[in-house]
């Protein structure tokens, strides 16, 4: 007998249907699997057979063939266990034909028949639901993430027996066995926990905080200079908190990536991600890839902040490889057997010491020679520095300052309000344009959209000449001036906006 079961798989974060075809007929007893299964998919044969036996179904000696269609896509992961088991039961006639119609099955089987969590449930459910599938059977541990899709009826199953009982039962029995999990998205978003990190916890460093605010408002990338322990990471980790809250759409997008990576801990991610990889990270870890395709850190930072601490310690090749995703907001990983694309629209925040010892330019303590300094800085020169808009250095706080009582600092919430207002200005200005933020305005359009009057033009020219700016840093100055003006909701760029922007120039 022959059966077809629907399941889903991922290519990158894009889901596609996989039809599990099972044929069980008399003949020489065997169990063959075709359709480009990876080694973990091939092993599912053992898991399925033992799990079914332990669930009370003894497999008679049959000639069994399993085909995973489309047959030219390489399949990986253990999520095919459940559909294969269901298909096998149907092919053997244990389940009435057609009972599994319109359902999608996902899950890894344990030898005792229990069903274990698998990655990628959210993007698969989301996509399949758009394609018209109504019923979903997913591992109980993943039910919540699937349930955020309002049009899908998602059942979390803990054991294969529950699935079988449901398929065998009539409508009434079915209701009792497994009820769909429901999550109200709006309620869920309202309830999201408050960020424990707040800018009011950062003492002093007013200029760095200001720079962070400008960066957040205009989606500018930012570099913080300063000796260790003055609060670079502290400020960076609080940046997601002043960015606009994630919209439902964005949240689904971000959660899908985490789901694909098997990292989704809660049904949905409601906070903007913050990723700070260690500087020993490999290219595959940063960009994604590896023998089992996984999204990299830059995709996990999608719609959030990628923080590179100790920027100069990163391998140069790794940093240079960030260029393309920074421009295109997506990373393409091309392989001999096809490529995948992961979204990677992140805000780049970097931190580094001013010199190898960290004390430059205090010549009493810093004995780094100029060549050491140059070597240290040349590690990050060129392409990546070109893409950093704001540069700010942090003050080395004296210990006395920390002990003094301190006036209350502005909270993230109040900073965020200003950021939101600035983003709104940009939204209005760039309506109908392919770009959304000041940081993304191409140089060709800059004169058009960021108009400056004669007086300001003169100041810009003066700065251009006196500070010996390059054309690129000149445009950067204009973009940042525009963001500063937006923060004040000013229509035109004024002199003081430009003068402030000049303070964040990279040397």
């Amino acid at each position: 007998m022959y059966s077809v079961i629907t399941t889903g798989a991922l290519s990158g974060v894009q889901a596609y249907f996989v039809r599990v075809e099972v044929d069980a007929s008399s003949g020489l007893p065997s169990f063959n699997m075709v359709g480009l299964p990876g080694s973990e998919v091939r092993e599912s044969r053992e898991r399925v057979c033992v799990a079914l036996k332990n669930a009370g179904f003894d497999l008679p000696p049959l000639h069994i063939t399993v085909n995973l269609s489309p047959a030219d896509q390489r399949k990986a992961g253990a999520a095919f266990d459940l559909p294969i088991a269901v298909g096998l039961l149907e092919a053997m006639g244990c389940i009435p034909p057609g009972a599994s119609g319109g359902c999608l099955f996902l899950g890894e089987l344990g030898l005792n028949g229990e069903i274990r969590t698998v990655p990628g449930v959210l993007p698969i459910v989301r996509w399949a639901s758009e394609q018209g599938i109504k019923q979903f059977f997913v591992p109980a541990g993943n039910a919540a993430e699937g349930a955020v899709i309002p049009t899908a009826s998602v059942r979390g199953v803990g054991h294969i027996r529950e699935v079988i009982a449901w398929l065998l039962g009539d409508e009434e029995q079915r209701q009792k066995i497994l009820t769909p999990v429901q999550i109200d998205l709006q309620q869920y978003f309202k309830k999201r926990q408050k960020d424990t990190l707040d800018f009011s916890q950062v003492r002093g460093q007013t200029r760095a905080k200001r720079a962070a605010q400008i960066a957040a408002a205009g989606f500018h990338s930012m570099l913080m200079y300063g000796p260790p322990g003055v609060g670079k990471s502290m400020i960076a980790s609080r940046l997601p908190g002043i960015l606009p809250p994630l919209s439902v759409e964005e949240s689904l997008e971000v959660s899908s990536i985490y789901s694909a990576a098997g990292l989704l801990q809660e049904p949905l991610i409601t906070q903007r991600p913050f990723q700070n990889p260690h500087h020993t990270i490999t290219d595959a870890g940063m960009l994604g890839g590896g023998s089992h395709l996984k999204p990299g850190i830059i995709s996990l930072a999608h719609k959030g902040v990628l923080f590179l601490d100790e920027l100069a310690e990163f391998r140069r090749g790794t940093l240079d490889s960030l260029r393309q995703p920074l421009e295109e907001k997506v990373i393409h990983i091309d392989r001999a057997n096809g490529g995948v694309a992961y979204p990677a629209d992140f805000m780049l925040v970097c931190a580094m010491n001013p010199c190898p010892c960290g004390y430059y330019p205090d010549r009493n303590r810093c004995k780094c020679t100029e060549s050491m300094l140059n070597r240290y800085r040349s590690k990050i020169s060129g392409p990546i520095l070109d893409r950093i808009d704001l540069c700010v250095e942090l003050d080395r706080l004296e210990i006395g300052k920390l002990q003094e009582p301190y006036p209350p600092q502005e909270s993230s919430a109040s900073i965020r309000e200003r950021v939101l207002a600035a983003r709104k200005c940009q939204e209005e200005r760039y309506a109908g344009e392919p770009y959304h933020f000041n940081a993304q305005v191409p140089a060709a359009d800059l004169d058009q959209v960021c108009r400056v009057s004669a007086k300001e033009k003169e100041l810009l020219d003066q700065l251009y000449r006196k500070l010996r700016l390059s054309a690129r840093s000149y445009y950067r100055l204009v973009r940042i001036s525009r963001t500063i003006a937006d923060l004040e909701e000013a229509r035109d760029i004024r002199e003081r906006h430009i003068r402030e922007a000049a303070c964040y120039r990279m040397l």
């Binding site: 002093g204 007013t206 200029r207 200001r210 200079y225 001013p354 430059y360 330019p361 205090d362 010549r363 009493n364 004995k367 780094c368 020679t369 100029e370 540069c391 700010v392 250095e393 003050d395 080395r396 003066q462 700065l463 006196k466 500070l467 003081r496 003068r499 402030e500 000049a502 303070c503 120039r505 990279m506 040397l507």
Partner: protein
């Protein structure tokens, strides 16, 4: 090149033959041609086997004529200790180099010359002082000798060259190799009025062991040396010891006792070195000293020199200062300028000095403004010090 000089150039190019060996050989054979033509047996007495081998090898492969031609083709001049234009000051020192190569000229004997030396990784203060010294020395006709190294050396030489003064760099490599490569601009400009000098044959690469003898030549070419910045136990202090052995006057720029880069300088002062009170004062004292010694005295008699020169110093420095002090600053800018120092300060530190009333951002903006007029220099991200364009008569 004269016949004798061709042979000298050849001898200079023989690997392994150092200054002392040349001294011995010349003493024995009395001419470079005689050395070239000497019998192997006669040479064996003066050269250990290895050097003898290298000597004989060179004699076989290189002809003096070709070597001389090669040097001339490159626009390089070659001198021996016997040359008329060999600097008299240098000839006086013990173990003076037998051979000199130069692009441009050698320092003139009838003008005073000063070696400006100091730390390679100097502070902003060191840079300012080196610039001022170089400028004033260059303006009043004092030759500036140094090693073209990073920091104090090249800063002083650049300043001297910029005002049309004569400056000479002594290299630890062949004169056709610019070392350090960052000083390329200086290397190209020096020969216009001064020169690039080396005791090493062309194509010699800079090796660590070449630098102590190079430093001896730097101080040997000068009437006096001036130390701008030096840490305790630094290479600069070794040069000072050499200069003292050669009987040169040692002048020192004093520094703050809180600055490690001035420790060596202050130590020298406590040991009795002369102090530099201002670049102008220093220049005057150099001229005065020069006027009293033999060559300078001759010149003084001939041209009325010293008095004139001292006058030039005064007038020049006055005319130079004037346009700088002119720029009027607003009250706020002036306050910020006064709060700044020659050591770099962060924006927060500047704000602390002013009194903390003003907004940090406002101060930062003003600092950047001042940078664009040149009064302030941004040393690194967020750190500022006073610029080379000084207000009032700084240091006076």
């Amino acid at each position: 090149m004269e016949r004798e000089e061709c042979y000298a150039a050849w001898l200079s190019s023989v690997p392994g033959i150092g200054n002392r060996t040349v001294e011995r050989l010349y003493h024995e054979f009395a001419s470079f041609e005689a050395i070239y033509r000497a019998q192997e047996g006669a040479l064996a007495k003066w050269l250990p086997p290895k050097r003898l081998e290298s000597f004989l090898q060179s004699r076989k492969t290189d002809s003096p004529g070709q070597i001389a031609e090669h040097i001339q083709k490159r626009g390089v001049r070659f001198y021996t200790k016997n040359s008329i234009s060999y600097p008299k000051r240098l000839a006086e020192i013990p173990d003076a180099p037998w051979f000199l190569y130069s692009i441009g000229t050698l320092p003139w004997d009838d003008l005073p010359s000063v070696a400006v030396i100091g730390a390679r990784d100097c502070s902003a203060y060191g840079e300012i002082v080196a610039t001022q010294l170089g400028r004033v020395l260059g303006q009043c006709g004092i030759q500036v000798i140094s090693g073209m190294a990073r920091g104090v050396d090249c800063t002083a030489q650049r300043a001297a060259v910029a005002v049309g003064g004569a400056s000479f760099a002594v290299l630890g490599s062949g004169v056709d190799i610019c070392y350090p490569p960052q000083s390329r601009d200086l290397y190209d400009r020096l020969p216009q009025k001064g020169g690039v000098i080396s005791a090493y044959p062309l194509q010699t690469v800079a090796r660590a062991q070449n630098f102590p003898p190079r430093n001896r030549i730097v101080s040997g070419l000068a009437d006096a040396i001036v130390v701008v910045e030096a840490r305790e136990r630094s290479g600069t202090l070794i040069t000072v010891d050499m200069a003292l052995e050669q009987g040169r006057d040692v002048y020192v720029v004093p520094g703050r006792i809180t600055e490690r880069l001035s420790d060596g300088c202050n130590r020298l002062l406590s040991q009795g070195a002369s102090i530099v009170l201002s670049p102008e004062d220093f220049a005057e004292r150099i001229w005065e000293q020069f006027g009293r010694t033999g060559l300078g005295a001759e010149r003084t008699a001939r041209k009325g020199g010293f008095a004139d020169a001292a006058e030039t110093v005064r007038t020049k420095s006055v005319t130079e200062e004037k346009p700088l002090g002119e720029g009027k600053l607003s009250r706020e800018d002036e306050r910020i300028y006064q709060a700044l120092d020659v050591t770099p300060l962060s924006v927060e530190e500047v704000a602390g000095r002013i009194g903390g009333e003003e907004h940090l951002l406002e101060i930062h903006m003003r600092l950047v403004d001042l940078c664009s007029c040149g009064y302030v220099k941004q040393v690194s991200q967020g750190y500022f010090c006073r610029g080379e364009k000084l207000r009032d008569s700084f240091l006076a």
